[in-house]
C-alpha cells in the first residue's frame, strides 16, 4: 500500500498528458454540483411547494387549479377533535416505545460490555431485526400475535384461544406495536451505548475502585454521565423515527382496530393519497408534523449541549 504511488508512476511516465485534464476548481465543482443540485430539487423545492399548497384547497385528483384559502387548512386541522386523538396515539407510542428501547438497549449493552466468548456473535445477531423491512416485520408479527395459533401467547403460557387478542383488542393493539418497535429498535440504542461504553477509559474505574466507590455509585457517577451524550443522540434519532412510524403500523394493525392505533403519519397518508386526495390539507398536516419534529429535536439538542458541557 505504501508504495502505491511509486509503483504506478513507473507505468505512467512523468509529463504524459491524457486528453482529459481538468483544473482543480473545475473538478471540485464537477464533483460537487450534481449532488447539491439533486438534493435541492428533491428537498428544498418540495418544501416550498408544499408550504404553498398547504394554504390552498388543492386536490390532486380534481382537475382544478389550487385556490388560495389562507389558514383554513390549519384551523381545520387544529379544530378537528379526531386528529387530536391521532396525535395523542402517536405521542403515547413515541414516549413509551422510546423509553422502553432506551432501557432495554442500554441494559443489553451493559451485559455485552466486557467481551466474553461469543459476545461478538450475539451483538451481531441482535442487529438482524433492525436491518429488516419494517412492513415485513409488522406483517409477520401479526402471525406471532394471533390469538389462536400465534407463539406469543403460547410462550406467555396461555392456552390456545384463551389468551389476549393483541391485534384485535383496542387497548392491546397499541402495546402490540410498542412491543414490536422495541424488539426492532432496542439494538440501535444498544449499538450506540456500546460505542459510548467502550470509550470510557479504564483508569476512571480503577481510581474509583481504589477509593472504594460502590458499584451503584460508579454506575451513576461514572458510567451514566459518560454515556449520556451518545445515549441522548440515540434517543433523539429514535424519537424522530418513531414519530414518523408508518411502515410498521401499516404492516401490523393498519391503524386498527377502529382507530386505536391510528398515527398521524398514517392519517397523513390517508388524507393525501386515499379517498378525496385532499392535498392542501395533507400539506398543512405535514407542515405541522415537521414543526413538531424540529421543535422536539431542538429541545433535545439544547439538553444534549448542556450535558456535554457538564
Amino acid at each position: 500500500m505504501q508504495s502505491a504511488p511509486a509503483n504506478t508512476s513507473t507505468s505512467q511516465p512523468a509529463g504524459s498528458r491524457r486528453p482529459l485534464t481538468l483544473s482543480d476548481p473545475a473538478i471540485k465543482y464537477l464533483f460537487l454540483w450534481p449532488t447539491v443540485l439533486l438534493l435541492i430539487a428533491f428537498n428544498v423545492f418540495p418544501l416550498f411547494y408544499s408550504l404553498y399548497l398547504s394554504f390552498t384547497d388543492f386536490r390532486a385528483i380534481a382537475n382544478q387549479p389550487p385556490n388560495w384559502i389562507g389558514i383554513q387548512n390549519y384551523s381545520d386541522i387544529l379544530n378537528d377533535e379526531q386528529l387530536w386523538v391521532y396525535f395523542r396515539n402517536t405521542g403515547r407510542f413515541v414516549v413509551t416505545a422510546v423509553a422502553l428501547e432506551t432501557l432495554v438497549g442500554f441494559g443489553i449493552a451493559l451485559l455485552l460490555r466486557s467481551k466474553f466468548w461469543g459476545s461478538g456473535v450475539i451483538t451481531t445477531l441482535i442487529l438482524i431485526p433492525m436491518m429488516s423491512a419494517p412492513v415485513v416485520v409488522g406483517l409477520f408479527w401479526k402471525l406471532i400475535f394471533n390469538p389462536n395459533y400465534g407463539i406469543f401467547n403460547y410462550l406467555l403460557g396461555f392456552a390456545a384461544g384463551k389468551g389476549p387478542d393483541w391485534i384485535g383488542d383496542g387497548d392491546l393493539a397499541m402495546w402490540a406495536i410498542i412491543i414490536v418497535d422495541v424488539w426492532m429498535w432496542s439494538p440501535y440504542v444498544m449499538l450506540l451505548s456500546l460505542a459510548g461504553l467502550s470509550a470510557i477509559p479504564d483508569y476512571i474505574y480503577e481510581a474509583a475502585d481504589i477509593d472504594r466507590a460502590s458499584p451503584p455509585y460508579q454506575f451513576f457517577r461514572i458510567t451514566l454521565p459518560q454515556v449520556a451524550p451518545l445515549l441522548l443522540i440515540a434517543i433523539l434519532f429514535r424519537t424522530i423515527e418513531a414519530f414518523k412510524a408508518f411502515d410498521l403500523v401499516m404492516g401490523l394493525t393498519g391503524g386498527g382496530p377502529g382507530d386505536a392505533t391510528e398515527m398521524v403519519s398514517v392519517q397523513l397518508y390517508r388524507i393525501a393519497f386515499l379517498g378525496q386526495f385532499n392535498t392542501g390539507k395533507a400539506s398543512a398536516l405535514a407542515y405541522i408534523i415537521l414543526v413538531i419534529i424540529i421543535g422536539v429535536s431542538n429541545l433535545y439538542i439544547k439538553y444534549l449541549n448542556k450535558v456535554k458541557a457538564g
Binding site: K28, L38, Y149, K244
Partner: protein, 315 residues
C-alpha cells in the same frame, strides 16, 4: 485469600452476564427463527395448536408466493395425477389439490426491487464518492453549511416531501416508473453516502496523491488510481447501507408506484392465498427478503456503527 475470592466472584459474574446475554439473544431471535420455519411449513402445521416446532418441510409457501393457483375438482385432480410433464412447483401444488394458473406478480415485483435498489445504490455511491472527495480534499466556500444541508435532508420526514414529489412526478411522467424511484432513493441515500465516504476518504493520507501529482498524474488519475483503491472498504460498506435502505423502503414505493414499478415491500402484505391469508407464502416472501440482509449484517458488522450514525462515530 481475599484476592482469590475476588477472582472467583468476578468469574461467576462474567458467567452470569454471559448466560443472561445468551438467553436474551435466543429470546430475541425466536421471531426470526419462527419466520424461517413457517416458510417451510405445511398449512396445517402453521395453524396447529399448540404451535409445532417439528414438521415435515414443504415448499408450499414458496409455490404460493411465486404462482397463482386455482382449486382442482376431483375429476381434474385425477387427470392431473396421470400427467408426467408436471414441474416441481406443479407437483407441490397438486399435493394441496391446486393447479398453477400463472406466475404471481411477486416475481415482477422482486425484479423491480432489484432494479431499483441496484440502480439507486450505484448512483448514490457514485455521486456520493465524488462529492465526498471534493469535501475531503478541496477548500469549499461555506463547506460547514453545505455539509449540514446535506445531513439535514436525511432528517426531513419523507411524508412532508412526498406530496409535492408526487405532483412533480405526475407532471413529469415519472410516477410509477423505475427511473422515478431510482432517482428518489438516490437522493435519500446521498446524504448517508456523502457523510460515510467522507469519513473514509479523510483517513487516506493526502501525501499519496500529492506524490502522484508530483509524478505527473492528473488529479483525475490520482483520484482513480490512488484514492479509489484505498477507499474500497468504505465504498463496499456504503454500498451495502444504501442497498439495505432502498431494498426495505416502503412508504415512497407505496405512494409513488402502482403496477409497473411497484417493489416487493408494499406487495408482500397483499400476498393472499386461495383461502384466507397464506402465512406460508408471506413467510416465504419475508424470508427471501431477509436473507440478503442477514448476510450483509454479518459481512458488515465492523462498519455497522458508522453506517447508522452517518459515519459521525468511528469504531
Amino acid at each position: 485469600m481475599a484476592k482469590v475470592t475476588n477472582e472467583t466472584q468476578s468469574r461467576i459474574a462474567t458467567v452470569g452476564r454471559a448466560s443472561l446475554a445468551v438467553f436474551l439473544c435466543i429470546l430475541y431471535l425466536i421471531p426470526v427463527v419462527w419466520m424461517f420455519s413457517t416458510a417451510f411449513k405445511p398449512r396445517k402445521a402453521i395453524i396447529s395448536i399448540p404451535p409445532q416446532v417439528f414438521f415435515t418441510p414443504t415448499l408450499e409457501g414458496f409455490v404460493g408466493l411465486f404462482y397463482k393457483r386455482s382449486t382442482l375438482t376431483p375429476a381434474q385432480m385425477e387427470q392431473y395425477q396421470q400427467r408426467t410433464d408436471l414441474s416441481w412447483a406443479e407437483r407441490v401444488a397438486l399435493e394441496q389439490g391446486l393447479a398453477i394458473t400463472r406466475q404471481s406478480d411477486y416475481v415482477g415485483q422482486l425484479r423491480n426491487s432489484l432494479i431499483i435498489a441496484g440502480g439507486s445504490t450505484v448512483l448514490a455511491v457514485g455521486m456520493g464518492l465524488l462529492s465526498a472527495y471534493a469535501f475531503s480534499r478541496f477548500r469549499i466556500k461555506g463547506q460547514a453549511d453545505l455539509e449540514f444541508f446535506i445531513l439535514s435532508t436525511r432528517m426531513l420526514p419523507p411524508v412532508v416531501v412526498t406530496i409535492p414529489i408526487f405532483l412533480m412526478y405526475r407532471r413529469l411522467g415519472l410516477y410509477d416508473t423505475h427511473f422515478g424511484l431510482i432517482l428518489l432513493y438516490t437522493v435519500f441515500n446521498l446524504s448517508l453516502s456523502v457523510w460515510l465516504l467522507k469519513g473514509f476518504i479523510d483517513e487516506i493520507p493526502k501525501e499519496y496523491e500529492e506524490a502522484a501529482l508530483i509524478d505527473g498524474y492528473s488529479r483525475l488519475q490520482a483520484f482513480w488510481k490512488i484514492v479509489l483503491p484505498q477507499a474500497i472498504t468504505g465504498i463496499a460498506a456504503t454500498t451495502v447501507f444504501c442497498l439495505i435502505f432502498a431494498w426495505n423502503e416502503y412508504a415512497f414505493a407505496l405512494m409513488l408506484t402502482s403496477n409497473r414499478a411497484r417493489t416487493a415491500p408494499p406487495s408482500i402484505p397483499s400476498v393472499i392465498g386461495t383461502s384466507g391469508v397464506d402465512w406460508a407464502a408471506i413467510a416465504a416472501g419475508s424470508l427471501l427478503f431477509l436473507i440478503p440482509v442477514v448476510i450483509v449484517v454479518f459481512a458488515l458488522r465492523r462498519y455497522l456503527l458508522r453506517g447508522i450514525t452517518f459515519g459521525a462515530i468511528r469504531q
